[in-house]
């Protein structure tokens, strides 16, 4: 699309989009680092994740302040308006993902002093890796205004739900086998649930890309796994 007659409008829009990309970069690293810290019981890395959350929070505030300024001073319309609305929602989603990573880092501190649950660290890291890939593609789709890529991200959320369901069953089994597993498994279950929620936020970002480009939210609700298992049981947040 051609530039605005008022070039400062373009600069402002680009600045706020640059903040989103910066936020996205930090949050992607948070996802991988927090999962890595959990698996390798790396207290230092976990601490880094915890501290970095503040950066994400500050960036979200800046995005919101800049978006409010654009609304007040430029009265954006059409795709400009949708851009401003989308960056606010994307920033909110990224901020939530940052919070989940921080929570994961805190739990990995606790888990470091407990017996390890066989294979759980690796499974969670694999799940986190999948979610990070979704978030990366959702943000790429945002920058390229690529609806197809955004649709692809939406379709991948069911993989994450499946991983979560499998882990849920696994943790349940461990807890039934030995009550001493209950505390670590509860923590690990919350972590799995948090990663599953991160996947939902990645789909929110992808949905915003579709709204931004087409002016409409995606028609079909994203695919759900068949079974009435934990991811579907619903905490009403979906």
């Amino acid at each position: 699309m051609e530039p605005h007659i008022a070039s400062v409008f373009d600069r402002d829009l680009e600045a706020v989009q640059a903040m989103i990309m910066k936020m996205g970069g930090v949050v992607e690293a948070q996802i991988l680092d927090s999962a890595q810290a959990l698996e390798s019981r790396d207290a230092e890395l976990a601490e880094k994740v915890r501290v970095t959350d503040r950066v994400v929070d500050e960036l979200e505030e800046r995005v919101n302040a800049e978006a409010a300024r654009l609304l007040a001073l430029r009265q954006p319309t059409a795709s400009d308006l949708r851009t401003v609305l989308a960056v606010m929602k994307i920033a909110a989603s990224l901020e939530r993902v940052g919070d989940y990573c921080k929570n994961m880092a805190k739990r990995s501190h606790v888990l470091a002093n407990m017996p390890s649950i066989n294979g759980s660290g690796m499974a969670l890291r694999r799940m986190a890796k999948t979610v990070e890939g979704m978030m990366k593609d959702a943000l790429d789709a945002y920058i390229k205004r690529d609806v197809e890529l955004a649709q692809d991200v939406l379709s991948r959320d069911q993989d994450v739900d499946q991983m979560y369901n499998a882990l849920f069953r696994e943790f349940l089994t461990y807890m039934m086998e030995d009550p001493r597993n209950i505390t670590p498994c509860m923590h690990l279950h919350f972590i799995a649930k948090n990663i599953e929620r991160m996947g939902d936020h990645a789909t929110t970002v992808a949905e915003q890309v579709i709204y931004l480009v087409t002016g409409n939210m995606p028609d079909e609700p994203r695919p759900k796994t068949e079974s009435v298992m934990p991811a579907d049981l619903g905490d009403g947040e979906d």
Partner: protein
């Protein structure tokens, strides 16, 4: 989810007041309006937007045959007001303009008293039978134009002595005094300050209870604020016509998008 303006849509009128078909306007050799089809709804504010020279004012002026006064202007096509062709030979343009009133860019009160400004139309069209009836029309019109409170004690003072915003509302009172069915407004706020603009916009919103209002404006924010339907003109074409909320959030034509987002002049 796609209904951005549910409340407005609920009360939206669907009766067509003016139906224009294949309208062409030529100024000498230049083709100013190209094949415009549009349905203007009753009891609705319709905004015409577009860059300077796009034909929006020209088209507006077709709706009450103001272009008749321009020798080199030639109009083709059909414009129906309540199903009747306004360019039919039997239609008297003066009578037509009593039904289709107009408010101009610059307030242009007659150099007469406030009272006479408003009473002029009803008098020449013979709409009232007594002084008492005329008084009533003047008061009602000034009230409708939200000016009564400010001028009721000085109706005999010249209209030109009022402030710009008051003068424009006086012109609106003058336009509504003949009980028109359609009110055309050509940039009615461009000479007004923001407060007077807000008053006129509030007035437009009230007027739509009774009239079909068509407003030409250069201010896209104004079009967004006051209208329920927006028509975008470009180079003599009607590019896009639709619900105002949709036009400003998700226009379907790339030219509309470029114009309302400030990308083409």
């Amino acid at each position: 989810m796609n209904d951005m303006r549910l409340v407005e849509r609920d009360v939206d009128a669907t009766d067509i007041k003016i139906k224009a078909r294949n309208v062409q306007v030529y100024y000498g050799a230049s083709h100013a309006i190209k094949d415009v089809d549009v349905d203007i709804l009753d009891k609705t504010v319709t905004a015409f937007i577009g860059p300077s020279g796009c034909g929006k004012s020209t088209f507006l002026r077709c709706l009450n045959r103001m272009n008749d006064t321009i020798d080199i202007a030639r109009i083709e096509g059909q414009i129906l007001l309540d199903g009747e062709d306004i360019y039919d030979k039997r239609v008297d343009p003066v009578q037509l303009r009593a039904k289709v009133g107009m408010v101009f860019q610059k307030p242009n009160p007659f150099p007469k008293s406030i009272y006479d400004n408003v009473a002029y139309g009803p008098k020449i069209h013979g709409l009232t039978r007594s002084k008492a009836e005329l008084d009533e029309v003047v008061e009602k019109s000034l009230r409708r134009a939200a000016l009564w409170g400010e001028v009721k004690d000085r109706l005999d003072k010249p209209g030109t002595g009022l402030s710009g915003g008051q003068q424009q509302r006086l012109c609106i009172a003058r336009a509504v005094a003949t009980s028109p069915e359609v009110l055309l407004m050509d940039e009615p706020c461009s000479a007004l300050d923001p407060i007077a603009t807000a008053q006129v916009e509030e007035l437009i919103d009230e007027l739509k209870q009774n009239f079909s209002v068509v407003i030409v404006t250069h201010s896209m924010q104004q079009a967004a604020r006051v209208s329920q339907r927006t028509a975008f003109f470009h180079l003599g074409n009607l590019v896009e016509y639709g619900e105002t909320g949709q036009i400003f959030t998700n226009p379907s034509d790339p030219r509309t998008e470029s114009y309302i987002t400030g990308r083409i002049g």
